[in-house]
């Protein structure tokens, strides 16, 4: 095994170009488990810890360009206002020690259907900025990033530079089912974001299909129902039958399996429950914000 230690982003891309089989290691919270248990013996480890760019983020007008290695603990502390859904999801990851090391780049690299960043990114709207020494930078829409169980759209010579996550323009929520609060891989998870500016709702489902997915039919139904009833303007409580239909469509978007953590039917049921709850929570805070704005 060789340990490659690029000191800059350019060096990292060059190393990955030269050794496409090299396994990048950022926080190591996925990679080291595999090495410790002898599940993986890469020819090259490509250490990204010295690439400072990957630990930085910039807040633009519409989105945050989040460096691939920014740890979850920093997202929770520094980006709660801009990226509330991702900050909530980050807080549910493992433990403080893991959150101090692991980040979204590694979560995307692993592309586990259970990864907690994914539903939040899908709901908020995001693009993954990847690059190679040979072909430069390209942007992958988050909806096209997950290509199969633990598979993503990266080419062998590419690295993830950053994720461009849409800044929240309304309330966002993240909900996760597990046996306890800390150190739990999701049985299933659900992210929801209201986008009042475009009058749309977006969703993300974790651990209930081969890849993280959006519940697109549910989103379309809800967007139409909210528009039709003038809900964005009148700020009324969402009709229970609408919320129920939304929840049922979210459950129907799942394609889960039975495994040690839960059965397929439990997952489908739980996703429906989380969909209704997160819709209620976010809608309540949207209504609350409207009331305070109205009063001001």
């Amino acid at each position: 095994m060789d340990f490659l230690r690029p000191a800059s982003w350019e060096e990292a891309l060059a190393a990955k170009g030269e050794h496409p089989t090299a396994v990048p290691i950022a926080g190591g919270t996925d990679v080291m488990v595999e090495i410790n248990f002898d599940h993986r013996r890469p020819e090259y480890l490509l250490d990204l810890n010295r690439v400072g760019d990957l630990y930085e983020w910039e807040t633009g007008e519409d989105s945050v360009r989040l460096g691939a290695s920014v740890p979850y603990s920093t997202i929770m502390e520094q980006l709660r206002a801009e990226l509330p859904g991702l900050a909530l999801a980050s807080h549910t990851v493992a433990s403080p020690q893991i959150r101090n090391r692991g980040g979204v780049g590694g979560n995307l690299g692993t592309a586990s259907p259970a990864g907690d960043a994914h539903p939040a990114l899908l709901a908020a709207g995001a693009e993954v900025e990847v690059a190679s020494a040979a072909r430069g930078t390209r942007m992958i829409p988050i909806d096209a990033f997950y290509t199969g169980v633990k598979r993503n759209a990266l080419e062998p010579d590419e690295l993830i530079r950053a994720v461009h996550v849409k800044k929240a323009d309304g309330p966002q929520q993240y909900s996760k089912v597990g046996t306890r609060n800390a150190m739990v891989i999701a049985v299933c998870a659900f992210g929801l974001a209201l986008h009042p500016r475009t009058r749309t709702v977006r969703t993300g489902i974790g651990s209930a299909a081969p890849t993280p997915v959006r519940a697109e039919a549910a989103e379309e139904f809800l967007n139409a129902a909210l528009a039709e009833g003038g809900f964005w303007d009148n700020g009324k409580i969402i009709t229970p039958s609408v919320a129920k239909q939304f929840a049922d469509l979210c459950a129907a978007a799942c394609n889960p399996i039975d495994d040690v953590r839960g059965t397929a039917s439990y997952r489908r049921h739980a996703v429906g429950v989380m969909a209704r709850r997160t819709l209620t929570w976010t809608w309540e805070s949207y209504r609350g914000a409207r009331r305070t704005e109205g009063a001001a």
Partner: protein, 190 residues
């Protein structure tokens, strides 16, 4: 490969390190510092917790090469680290003294007598928060970092900070007592 880094305030060099080796392995097997425990090697238990450039991490999930040039504090250096925090200035703990710490603690029922303990270590002893002791080093490092960051933690803060550390013996209540005790002593300045 060779790895150069700072451990408990002193520069150290580890040779013949395998590229896939963890920082935990290097600390225990190459530097002779068995304070950090190996219980799961998968980030689940926290017994291998050390500070890496000040940040609590599972040393079993840090590749040794990633520690190159960086600063590591282990439980063996905790007393010195705490002393340095309260009075400033220290030359660090020599490797031999750090190794000796473990030996003394092993031969003496008054765990670590003759070695100045960090306040959090004393509090764990006084509160009866140590049973088999396997989880203790990780809990000490995590608790000490909490009190450095947040001198008056609520119970919820303590639970959150220690949520990555498993203990199979105590049921956690005595550990909570110990952290509360250390926080109280710290704020009284004893």
């Amino acid at each position: 490969m060779r790895v150069n880094f700072t451990v408990n305030g002193r520069p150290q060099e580890a040779d013949d390190v395998w590229e896939g080796e963890s920082l935990l392995y290097v600390l225990r097997e190459r530097l002779g510092l068995p304070g950090s425990k190996n219980a799961c090697e998968q980030g689940e238990c926290g017994s291998c917790t050390v500070r890496l450039d000040g940040v609590p991490v599972c040393s079993c999930l840090v590749a040794a090469g990633q520690a190159e040039g960086r600063d590591v504090v282990t439980v063996e250096g905790l007393g010195d680290h705490a002393r340095q925090r309260s009075c400033g200035g220290s030359d660090g703990v020599p490797l031999d003294a750090a190794k000796g710490w473990a030996a003394k603690a092993g031969t003496d029922s008054q765990a670590g007598e003759g070695v100045e303990l960090a306040p959090i270590q004393q509090a764990f002893i006084d509160a009866g928060a140590v049973q088999c002791g396997f989880c203790t080093p990780g809990l000490l490092v995590a608790s000490d970092e909490l009190l450095e960051r947040n001198p008056n933690p609520s119970d919820a803060d303590i639970r959150e900070a220690l949520s990555g550390n498993l203990c199979r013996c105590t049921g956690y209540e005595k550990i909570m007592d110990a952290v509360r005790l250390a926080a109280a002593r710290q704020s009284e300045g004893v």
